[in-house]
């Protein structure tokens, strides 16, 4: 026996993604069937109620095409996406940085946690009149409102993640000779990484609410204003167009976060994929 019995690796497992192709195929089939049934029910119901309650799918699609062709929907989407992206990005960076700081550096947490908790507990909407008074009616106020909506979930989730570092792993790193700085790098930051994405998932949702509410109540532009305008004028077919844009945006962003998480957190065990 010159060395330990060598174990032979099997085919490299890739986090349980060895799903059989047939199942993936049937999942697509299921999705198509589901969508078809949805439209069929929608059509059926719309035939039996006045269009002012529920327009038919065809009417909605026509309105969507019209609003896109006229440029209104595209312009509104741009007006919405920019302040949303800027506010969310700043919230992500600030929330992650401050969250890590508070999670790692306990005195800072003791100092700031009460304030953060109070600010976070106040419903966002209550800030709006104040922000308008301070920053006027414009894009700046919108960006700040999106930022405030998204920064707290990001910050608090990341802070919790940084505090979550396994004390046993810290001890192992210490026994290997790790300094405080090295332990931060080797144990604490990697254990906080999944929480950065968990926070982002919540922040995206909150930021979306923020931008719509902001546009509805402050600046009267973008997707938020389209909701207000077509809602009040009872043009229900047109009302659905911005709804579709927001839904698409939400789905897209969620996918992007999932993808980024798969990429940056490859070690995470997933029960279902």
């Amino acid at each position: 026996m010159s060395q330990m019995t060598n174990l032979v690796p099997g085919p490299a497992p890739r986090n349980g993604r060895s799903m059989v192709g047939a199942i993936a195929g049937s999942q697509y089939l299921l999705a198509i069937v589901s969508i078809a049934v949805f439209f069929a029910i929608w059509q059926l119901v719309s035939m039996n109620v006045p269009p002012i309650i529920l327009p038919a799918p065809a009417q909605v699609i026509t309105a969507f095409v019209q609003l896109t062709a006229s440029g209104e929907l595209v312009r509104a989407t741009a007006q919405t996406v920019w302040p949303f992206a800027v506010g969310l990005s700043i919230a992500f960076v600030v929330g992650t940085a401050v969250g890590l700081l508070l999670g790692i550096f306990r005195p800072a947490a003791r100092l700031l946690d009460p304030y953060i908790f109070v600010f976070w507990s106040i419903p966002n909407i209550a800030w709006l009149p104040l922000f308008i008074a301070w920053f006027g009616v414009g894009t700046l106020t919108l960006v700040i409102f999106v930022f405030v909506s998204a920064v707290f979930p990001q910050l608090l989730t990341v802070e919790a993640g940084a505090k979550e570092a396994d004390s046993f792993l810290v001890e192992v790193a210490r026994s290997l000779g790790g300094s405080k700085r090295e332990i931060l790098h080797v144990v604490v930051l990697p254990s906080a990484l999944p929480y950065i994405f968990a926070g982002l998932r919540i922040a995206v949702g909150r930021a979306l609410v923020g931008i719509i509410v902001g546009q509805l109540l402050i600046v009267a532009t973008g997707i938020g204003y389209m909701f207000q305008f077509y809602g009040e004028t009872l043009s229900l077919a047109k009302y659905f167009a911005p709804l579709i844009v927001i839904a698409a945006l939400a789905v897209l962003l969620n996918r992007a976060v999932n993808w980024a998480e798969h990429f940056f957190v490859p070690w995470k065990q997933r029960a279902f994929t």
């Binding site: 026996m1 060395q3 210490r174 026994s175 290997l176 300094s179 090295e182 080797v186 990484l193 070690w267």
Partner: protein
């Protein structure tokens, strides 16, 4: 030859209610010379406290630990620890986890070419060639502990500290790893301080078995195991001497339960 001396070590724990719990009292032991020394004792006798103290993870309330004559107050680069809970970093591959043993020892993030080769060689030694890019959760418990062993050995330690490393494994895996540990020990020539509550394991592996008293832990009895090494080359457990030693050790430990 490296020498590890534990001199009158004492450790007291104070509970939040203010009660004192003396875990270890005036414990003295000197080991070295590439010997395999195992400490056994009833649960709660302070074995793990002893090892954590030697590993520099906790300090002694009185007395001291000396490594090659110098007092030891922090984890030493000349030692490696293997834990029952293993403690692999889930976000590092097997290779990354083993490399960490060197990185934290040398306080460098990058490995020299020589060190990278040593990581590969050590993985081969513990039988994990081909698993370099796996993540810990993709490996069985026994394989994970092989990684734990590789992470310790890659540091080329003078002293290897092992805290019930096979305690969480099933009986067969445990027997296999015991043999492979003896084989590795024969090659690396480190001094080993091994903690277990399993008498058979203690006698099978060691040159010297230290039996501890119940809390506060003191040395109760020292047994020399004179069965020839390497013990996996014959059925050491079937030897008369093995049975005799186990009986002596059991009598001694029974009084402490």
């Amino acid at each position: 030859m490296p020498e590890l001396a534990i001199v009158n070590a004492r450790k007291n724990y104070r509970s939040p209610r203010g009660d004192n719990l003396l875990a270890l009292a005036d414990f003295s032991l000197t080991i070295g010379g590439g010997r395999f020394v195992t400490v056994v004792g009833p649960s709660g006798c302070g074995k793990t406290t002893l090892l954590r103290m030697v590993g520099g993870l906790i300090s002694a309330d009185a007395g001291e630990i000396r490594l090659d004559g110098a007092p030891l107050t922090a984890p030493s680069p000349k030692m490696s620890m293997v834990f029952q809970g293993i403690g692999l970093m889930p976000w590092k591959t097997i290779e990354g986890n083993v490399a960490l043993g060197i990185q934290l020892q040398a306080h460098r993030r990058t490995l020299t070419a020589k060190e990278a080769d040593r990581v590969e060689a050590t993985l081969g030694m513990v039988g994990l060639q081909g698993f370099e890019h796996y993540y810990p959760h993709q490996l069985s418990g026994g394989m994970q502990q092989r990684v734990g062993l590789a992470r310790a050995l890659v540091r080329q330690p003078e002293i290897l500290l092992m805290d019930e490393p096979f305690g969480a494994l099933d009986a067969q895996t445990r027997a296999v790893l015991q043999d492979e540990l003896l084989n590795l020990w024969g090659r690396v020539k480190s001094t080993v301080l091994f903690i277990t509550h399993d008498l058979d394991e203690a006698i099978y592996l060691s040159d010297l078995v230290i039996i501890m008293s119940r809390r506060p832990g003191r040395i109760k009895q020292v047994l020399e195991v004179n069965l020839p090494q390497p013990r996996y080359s014959y059925d050491a457990r079937a030897e008369k001497e093995f049975a005799r030693l186990r009986s002596v050790a059991w009598q001694s430990i029974k009084e402490e339960l």
